[in-house]
């Protein structure tokens, strides 16, 4: 209104949530798991930073990727890590992966009426030595899967993964079946392709890619050590091995 007033009474409502973009993804192999996320953090059309990690090491064999509202995500990871430390002090061992998964569901559901606006993907090695991925919705509903994408580019990446990991809509050659698990090199190529594709077509994805690889204790990392920009982050000799691979993504 020209007189500085409003036609309707103005009520500004504080919104405690925002969306910080980005995408995460995890794929389980027979004896390894790959958990990845881009490193861009944005709000609206602004890039806040080109490097804000979304993938976190929880234990020697568990990695958690969080995506959605960054403040909730960071606080949630902080609280999960705290619970895991308490567990360590009480039981003198790390919490197993399936127990971490249930812990996360309980912690998310505890906030059912003021949820963490976060999509979680937990990846790592199960007690039987198999690779595992657990995916969650913001209020704790979860399941174990072989692969999952979440976040801004979920709709771009997930159908690609259906095709390349689960071989959906593909027929095996006569007398053959599709492999249930892919070798690590194939999985890494698919992960990198997924993120370059998502970067190409989604404005909230880009800048950097951080890939965690967990390999079952005593199993071969299948030539992973010789890959470009790889860093081993294993803390002890008698555990599963953990690696981080960092790659650049387009910054536009």
């Amino acid at each position: 209104m020209p007189d500085g007033s409003f036609a309707h009474p103005q009520q500004r409502q504080f919104n405690p949530y925002t969306d910080n973009g980005g995408t995460i993804l995890a794929i389980a192999g027979a004896d390894f798991t790959v958990i990845a996320g881009d490193t861009r953090q944005s709000e609206g059309y602004s890039i806040q930073t080109r490097y804000a990690p979304k993938v976190f090491r929880l234990t020697d064999r568990a990695v958690l990727a969080v995506n959605g509202f960054a403040a909730d995500g960071n606080m949630f990871v902080k609280k999960v890590k705290q619970r895991l430390e308490w567990y360590r002090h009480a039981h003198a061992k790390d919490m197993p992966l399936r127990a971490i998964a249930r812990l996360i569901q309980t912690m998310l559901y505890a906030q059912r009426f003021f949820p963490y606006y976060v999509y979680n993907i937990l990846g790592g090695i199960e007690e039987d030595g198999t690779g595992a991925v657990y995916s969650f919705d913001p209020v704790g509903s979860y399941e174990r899967e072989a692969c999952r994408a979440a976040g801004a580019a979920q709709s771009l990446v997930q159908p690609f993964l259906d095709n390349q990991i689960y071989f959906k809509n593909q027929k095996a050659a006569a007398g053959q079946t599709h492999p249930t698990h892919l070798p690590l090199s194939d999985v890494l190529s698919i992960v990198i392709d997924s993120f370059t594709s998502a970067t190409e077509r989604h404005i909230e994805v880009g800048d950097g890619l951080e890939i965690f690889v967990v390999v079952t204790k005593g199993h071969s990392p299948q030539g992973l050590e010789s890959i470009r920009n790889v860093q081993e982050v294993t803390t002890r000799a008698d555990t599963d091995r953990m690696f981080v691979i960092r790659r650049e993504l387009k910054k536009d």
């Binding site: 580019a153 709709s155 771009l156 990446v157 997930q158 159908p159 690609f160 259906d162 095709n163 390349q164 959906k168 809509n169 593909q170 392709d193 997924s194 594709s197 998502a198 190409e200 077509r201």
Partner: protein
């Protein structure tokens, strides 16, 4: 003391013509139907891809009434000439209207010019036809694929898409539209590569479409694929998931 009367609940029939965009501004706010978008009313998706000396265009076969599936043989791709195919995902009633409109306009062009329309010209015909209805649009996002005659007489792949008011997008690789568009973008970006021959292009576009529509509740229920080469048009109907 007078008791406040409870407002009678008005049942609103969700007819497409009651879409907020079509209603007069004076239409009572509290009985305006609110659904996400008219573009998701019937569902459906189309994709077109460029190959080496060939092009392909493919669509699903679903017709729905929001979440309810109605038909599994609703075709959305129509031949405009021998080497132009047009896909019309969007509001089903407008699919029929536009198909007929373009048949009429292409025929008029052929009669007046005494020659067949070229894909690039046709793309501009589509664009201007839609822009005529700028403030009361057809709810269709057309996708077209064709082979364009070059100066030396050879045929060049041509694909294009527009939004519902005719903004042209001419791409060198692939174009997508419909309710599964974001999924189509994701898969196509991962699978497509330059200079695919007709058979590889067929495989690529089919895999892209099937895997994308399998993640879309509003698309699927079978698919059809056209591959255009310099001497023939190959049409194949694909079996897809029926859930």
């Amino acid at each position: 003391m007078e008791e406040a009367l409870e407002q009678p609940q008005l049942r609103v029939f969700l007819h497409p013509l009651l879409h907020p965009a079509l209603l007069p501004v004076s239409y009572p706010r509290d009985i305006r139907p609110t659904w996400s978008s008219i573009m998701e009313y019937n569902g459906g998706s189309v994709i077109a891809m460029v190959g080496k000396d060939c092009v392909a265009i493919a669509s699903d076969l679903r017709l729905g009434n929001q979440a309810l599936g109605i038909s599994s043989n609703f075709t959305k791709i129509f031949p405009m000439t021998n080497r132009i195919f047009l896909g019309l995902p969007g509001l089903a009633t407008d699919v029929t209207t536009l198909k007929e409109t373009f048949r009429y306009r292409v025929n008029m062009y052929t009669i007046k010019e005494e020659r067949e329309i070229e894909p690039e010209t046709f793309a501009h015909l589509v664009s201007s036809t839609l822009y005529e209805r700028r403030f009361g649009p057809y709810f269709i996002e057309p996708v077209m694929a064709g082979l364009q005659k070059a100066a030396d007489g050879s045929l060049k792949p041509y694909i294009a898409a527009t939004d519902l008011i005719g903004c042209l997008n001419f791409a060198k690789d692939f174009v997508v539209a419909g309710t599964a568009s974001s999924k189509l973008f994701g898969v196509a970006e991962g699978l497509w590569e330059p200079d695919l021959g007709p058979e590889d292009l067929f495989e690529t576009i089919s895999q892209t479409l099937l895997n994308a529509v399998d993640r879309d509740a509003y698309s699927g229920w079978g698919a059809e694929v056209y591959v255009l080469t310099k001497d023939k048009v190959i049409k194949r109907t694909l079996k897809g998931r029926m859930d």
